[in-house]
Symmetry: C2
C-alpha cells in the first residue's frame, strides 16, 4: 500500500481533489435551490437570468449566454419560458436591431425578490460548515476565482 510509505507529499485523495470539491459543493447548491425556486423555469439558472434582467445586465442574449456560461440556443428556450410567464420581455435594441434586450417586468422583479430571499437560506445552508467570517472569506475568494474564469472565456 502506498499509504504505508507515509511520504512527505500530499495524499491527493478524493477529499483534496479540487474538481471533486467544486462538483460536490455545486451539486449541493443546485439540489437545494431546485426545490426552492420551483416557481421559476430552469431552476437556479432561471434565477440567474432573471437576476441579470433585473439589474439591467441583459443587454443582449449573447452577452447573457456568455455570462451564464451556456449556449445561446439553450438561452432562447429559457427566455421563452420566462417570457410566457410574464417575468421578462424581449425588446429590440435600438442601436443594433439584431440584438434583443431582456428586461424584467414588474412581476419579474417581484418574483425575483421572493426567490432571492429564499435563496439566501440555501446559500447559508451550503456554507453552514463555516463560521460567518470564514464564509465571507470563502465567498470573496470564490468570487475572484469565478470572475477570472469568466474573463478568460471572453473570446
Amino acid at each position: 500500500m502506498s499509504s504505508s510509505r507515509a511520504g512527505r507529499q500530499p495524499e491527493a485523495d478524493l477529499d483534496s481533489d479540487l474538481g471533486w470539491m467544486l462538483g460536490v459543493a455545486f451539486q449541493a447548491y443546485v439540489r437545494a435551490a431546485d426545490h426552492t425556486v420551483t416557481d421559476l423555469p430552469g431552476g437556479p439558472r432561471g434565477y440567474q437570468l432573471l437576476t441579470a434582467a433585473v439589474h439591467g445586465q441583459a443587454r443582449s442574449q449573447a452577452a447573457i449566454a456568455q455570462r451564464l456560461g451556456i449556449d445561446r440556443t439553450v438561452l432562447t428556450y429559457l427566455i421563452d419560458d420566462l417570457e410566457k410567464l410574464g417575468l421578462v420581455v424581449r425588446r429590440p435594441d435600438a442601436a443594433d436591431r439584431r440584438s434583443r434586450v431582456v428586461e424584467a417586468t414588474d412581476e419579474g422583479r417581484a418574483v425575483w425578490k421572493r426567490c432571492r430571499q429564499r435563496l439566501r437560506d440555501v446559500e447559508a445552508h451550503v456554507v453552514a460548515a463555516l463560521q460567518p467570517a470564514e464564509a465571507a472569506t470563502f465567498r470573496a475568494l470564490l468570487q475572484r476565482v469565478a470572475c477570472r474564469a469568466r474573463e478568460r472565456e471572453r473570446t
Copy 2:
C-alpha cells in the same frame, strides 16, 4: 430603478450569487480537465473513480456512487469503461458477496499518477486569480463545505 436608491443592503447581483460562482468555477475546472485527462473515460469523473480505487476507498459501488454524488446505474457504465481499459477490476467482497470491491490495477495506478500530475496544473489554473496563501485558504474552506455536503447526503 432600485439601484438609484443606493440602499444599505447588498446588491445581490450575479457576481455575488453563490450558485453562479460555484457553477462558473466548476465549469471552468471541468472544461480544462476534460481535454487534459483524455486518456480516461468520463473525464474528471473517471479520474475521481480511479482516485477512490487507488486509495482503497472503493469498497462497494454503492459507497463510490454516494461519494461521487452520482447514481449507481451511471457508475456501472463508468466502471465498465475503466475495466475494459484494464485500469480497474471488480472483485466480489468476501464478507458480502452482493458487493463488488473496485481495485486499481498496476496500469491504473500508473495512469492515475500521470493524470494527477497534469490535473495539478489545471487546479492551479482555476485558482490562478488567488495568491498562493489565499489559494490554500480557499481550498481548505471549500473542503469543509464539500465534506459537510457529503455527510448530509448519507441517507
